[in-house]
Symmetry: C2
DNA sequence: CGCACAATCGTTTGCGTCAACAATTGCAAA
DNA sequence: TTTGCAATTGTTGACGCAAACGATTGTGCG
């Protein structure tokens, strides 16, 4: 299979390589190759199962029909869903996906991005883990790049993410509206933009109800299960227990839940829970979790649309294109 | 960034393209290029941020350092975990991953595989969705291919999957040991090998206890939430309710759980639940789910090891290499 | 002083494809 | 008959890299 090249077909049919090339890339009519020849060549190509060598074609055309995608952890459902949407959407336009899992490691990220450049991908979609945009900005000069979920201040790199501020703000307002007064937020990586925005939204919402005695505290330092566990333990063993916990990620949430359960505290009777992110399982938990669901599909769709526009040139290279999509509050029974 | 080629560096340094090539691919010493020259060229390459064009290199070397991976649905945690393990493992050997999501569609699978071939991947790992091994067998003649999870009878295509029969058998035995007597299994896609094996294991286990009055029934036809819901409704509204349900996948399980909850039946008091597959969430459900956990990481590891051996030739092309890994019963509190 | 042979680097080709130029017909109009 | 032009197909480089094959020095030795 697939040992044939334009050359071998040329030999077998007697036509020149370029005629074969033209016919098989659908330009036969355009170059006025006779119907008879077209049919003959097409038949031969089908017979021997010819598949054009994309490597050779890529070298010549400087276009690989490949998009590089990096995510911090593909086994995180949020990123898996993102990848799923991106892959499906970009496939429609004939693109293949080179996927790299950076495992939240800056070095892996660098490796992956360099590899993408070396492989001449037509574009890059990335959920960056690095704290600096330097490398990405260098790369963006020669390849279209779109960031997702996490982004940087003071750069023009295009990005799409959910509006973490408003999502966090709305969730906190919701808790307050439900009557909760001592709310504690367990945050993730301090330096990441989404986390900063979530903290800001949380604190602003609390501040706007300060006169009704609402207090908000924040602690934690990682989007991990362990962080959820240790912070829950800490705050619940203090003498000023909160009456509601806001988990800034799914993993944190699981840590919170398992710890509360071990302490025999019931949700939402003893303490209310609300979380960021969404997951199929949330609706099947006991109780179902109220959460701020990020519009993953939409984010992926928008990001790829921007990328495609940058590739075909309909979006100026200099043009700043940064968008935040409002997340949705999904009601469970945990508050 | 990355506009330099061996040629431009050659012009700037005055050395020939081949000298540059040798130095930059680490063969300077081997070709007795002088230390001075090596250093000079290396410096220049670093200065201009030279990255070898992998497309051109691929064309010449007939090796792309790329592995193609197809999964039926990357947003399914089982496959996401699989991909995660594979990517991490293959990265160690310098391979990049072309990921295709076939969305359980045979045509997508064909597209993806053809694309892999055209892109001259060095190897293919696939969770096939097609019911016929024809295409894969054709491809396997020119590119190393390893199947995962699903496989075909009567082929020599190498595969790695969990031992569905023994897993299913053990789970059923466990239920019986716990005292359950009327067990119903909700199955997935009838034609898929894993499903067939699970059914066989289930029925064999039941049969081996037929004299103690154990009965086993099977129904359903898809690894989906809907199937879980409709089958649960059906069997629970009959006048011969089972006392235990065996869900053959996570999605089926969720359907079962939601339906039971809507019927206000409590687990495991009113009815016991056991499931195939594993998931982080299982431990945080209420109650935690007892399940047959497939050794995803191990499967991925083994599959890539086999693939690597096929690539470097240390595994004969003709040699049959098919392995089934025993899954583990993970105890929750749902039985 | 000439020659062998190491030490050091260069020339050229080809991987498979596409595309810019050419080339070859035939046939109608002048 | 010549000219012109449409209708067909061919030739010939790149693309950037690696490797096969050479080429040029210089040094030690007989």
């Amino acid at each position: 299979m697939n040992k044939d090249t334009l050359h071998t077909i040329s030999q077998r049919t007697g036509y020149s390589v370029s005629t074969i090339s033209r016919v098989l890339s659908g330009k036969g009519r355009q170059f006025r190759i006779s119907e008879r020849t077209i049919e003959l060549i097409t038949k031969e190509a089908e017979a021997c199962n010819y598949i054009p060598d994309q490597i050779a074609r890529g070298l010549k055309m400087k276009k690989t029909s490949t998009i590089g995608l990096t995510v911090p952890a593909i086994d995180n459902p949020f990123f898996a869903n993102l990848a799923s949407g991106l892959i499906a959407h970009l496939k429609k336009y004939g693109y293949n996906i080179l996927l790299a899992d950076t495992m939240e490691d800056e070095r892996n990220e660098k490796d992956a991005l360099m590899s993408f450049v070396a492989r001449k991908v037509d574009g890059i979609v990335t959920v960056p883990v690095s704290s600096s945009p330097d490398l990405l900005e260098r790369i963006a000069k020669s390849v279209p790049v779109v960031l997702i979920d996490r982004y940087f201040e003071n750069t023009d790199l295009p990005y799409v993410c959910s509006d973490n501020y408003s999502g966090s703000f709305a969730a906190t307002k919701y808790l307050i509206g439900k009557g909760y007064r001592r709310i504690h937020a367990i945050q993730g990586v301090l330096t990441s933009m989404p986390n900063k925005e979530r903290v800001r939204g949380f604190l602003d919402a609390v501040a706007s109800h300060a006169d009704s005695g609402v207090t908000g505290t924040v602690s934690g330092n990682s989007f991990s299960l362990e962080n959820g566990i240790s912070e829950t333990l800490r705050i619940m063993s203090g003498n000023d227990r909160p009456d509601a916990i806001f988990a800034f990620s799914t993993t944190i949430l699981l840590g919170v839940i398992s710890t509360l359960r071990r302490m025999s505290l019931s949700i939402p009777d003893d303490i209310a829970i609300i979380s960021f992110d969404d997951n199929l399982f949330f609706d099947y938990m006991n109780p179902p979790i109220t959460r701020v669901a990020q519009p993953v599909a939409e984010i992926g769709q928008l990001a790829s649309d921007i990328l495609l526009k940058m590739i075909d040139g309909s979006l100026e290279r200099g043009e700043v294109c940064q968008m935040q999509i409002p997340p949705k509050l999904v009601h469970g029974e945990s508050c």
